[in-house]
Chain length 209, copies 2
DNA sequence: TAGATTGTTAATCGATTAACAATC
DNA sequence: TAGATTGTTAATCGATTAACAATC
């Protein structure tokens, strides 16, 4: 049993969570580090090390309870709590995030969507109307918001991120192709879709046929 | 000068490429490992090690030519070539990818979009009409396609990926929440958006204010 | 009990950082 | 030339894997 969870482990937690959910759905109630490792392409040793970062509750000779482990990891990640998001930018990506079912299914609910383009303001996206970004400050002050989704051009993403940081938001899911610079009590996840394609291109070019 | 490029370096290449493009746009023609490192939050030592994986062409006492380095990294990643993509699934994500400007700007062009839902077939997305997935085989045989973008439900992503693999496609950009299993000459990049949100949730929960 | 499997410590492997001679 | 900065080797750090006593 240990305290510190390394960045490498943090990035694996969602995969554990996903596989454990799948196992639950398949009716599997118990699994060993060996079994889970085979399923996830990890060594049994790594599975045990990872799980022991946040408390040992396997049983020797038996393994782990699937539901117990799933619940525990979900709790560590905070996905047992509800998160409220606002989307900044009603372009293709902003709208796709607003319309996706999977995020609210996992507790990440879109509360509002904003844009500065007069052509987009008032547009209906799901059950929401796109609001004028000028209303942003008022909205955040009047409503509980956890996460800002930045679906904006590079040119304004950094500035707007700082603005909503000043309004008190501390979670940032950034789709603009830059690395946000924010005070260190802000949590940021950058999603660089373009970079993923570039990595794919590299792998295609360098894979031996 | 060395041959092998580790996974860790590969994942950093797009960031180098992005920063070098920015520097070029700013009119900077020369930069040292120290300067580039500061800009990217890397140590100068790491920058030099990374760049030396694929051939040393800095100059002592001077640094690196921004445009030469950018071009070279672009070539290594293969983004100086054009890629043709087909999108499988015309839901929110599939359409957002089809409509985005940034991918074609980087040489990744969407050639066609497919779905099996009769309500979606024929629908106009950008300049393309959504085609019946039954036409997929014929289409791939008649057109040069590099990359399949999987914007499908989990339930059919794996099966369809294998199908297009059999048609000869070797690049897969997967948005479905599963890890594709394909023969090892296939190049796969998984984009697990849900997992990014879960990591964000973790960081928000565990950041010290 | 015997077999299975954990939690944990030790060994290995790989990636990052530091150091410095070579040289522009 | 003197100063700056590379390419590269060596040192450090962290993450993964192996091993095994404890125990269900």
């Amino acid at each position: 049993m240990a305290g510190y969870i390394s960045e490498a482990v943090i990035k694996r937690l969602p995969a554990y969570y996903r596989h454990l959910k799948e196992l639950e759905a398949e009716g599997v109630t118990q699994i060993s580090s060996k079994g889970l490792g085979e399923r996830m392409d990890f060594t049994a040793s790594q599975v045990r090390q990872d799980i022991n970062c946040f408390g040992g509750f396997g049983r020797q000779g038996y393994g782990y309870s699937v539901s117990e482990l799933r619940e525990h990891i979900g709790h560590i990640m905070g996905v047992d709590e509800r998160h409220r998001m606002i989307i900044l930018g009603a372009g293709n990506i902003g709208r796709a995030v607003a319309l996706a079912d999977s995020f609210p299914q996992n507790g990440f609910v879109t509360a509002a969507i904003f844009d500065s383009d007069p052509h987009k303001i008032g547009m209906q996206v799901d059950a929401m109307a796109v609001q004028d970004i000028a209303e942003l400050k008022r909205y955040v002050e009047e409503n509980a918001v956890d996460i800002a989704v930045l679906a904006l051009p590079v040119s304004c993403a950094q500035q707007l991120a700082h603005e909503v940081y000043d309004y008190g938001i501390r979670g940032f899911w950034n789709f603009a192709p830059l690395d946000l610079k924010l005070p260190k009590d802000a949590a940021v996840v950058n999603v660089h879709l373009d970079e993923g394609l570039e990595v794919l291109s590299f792998r295609m070019k360098h894979s031996q046929p």
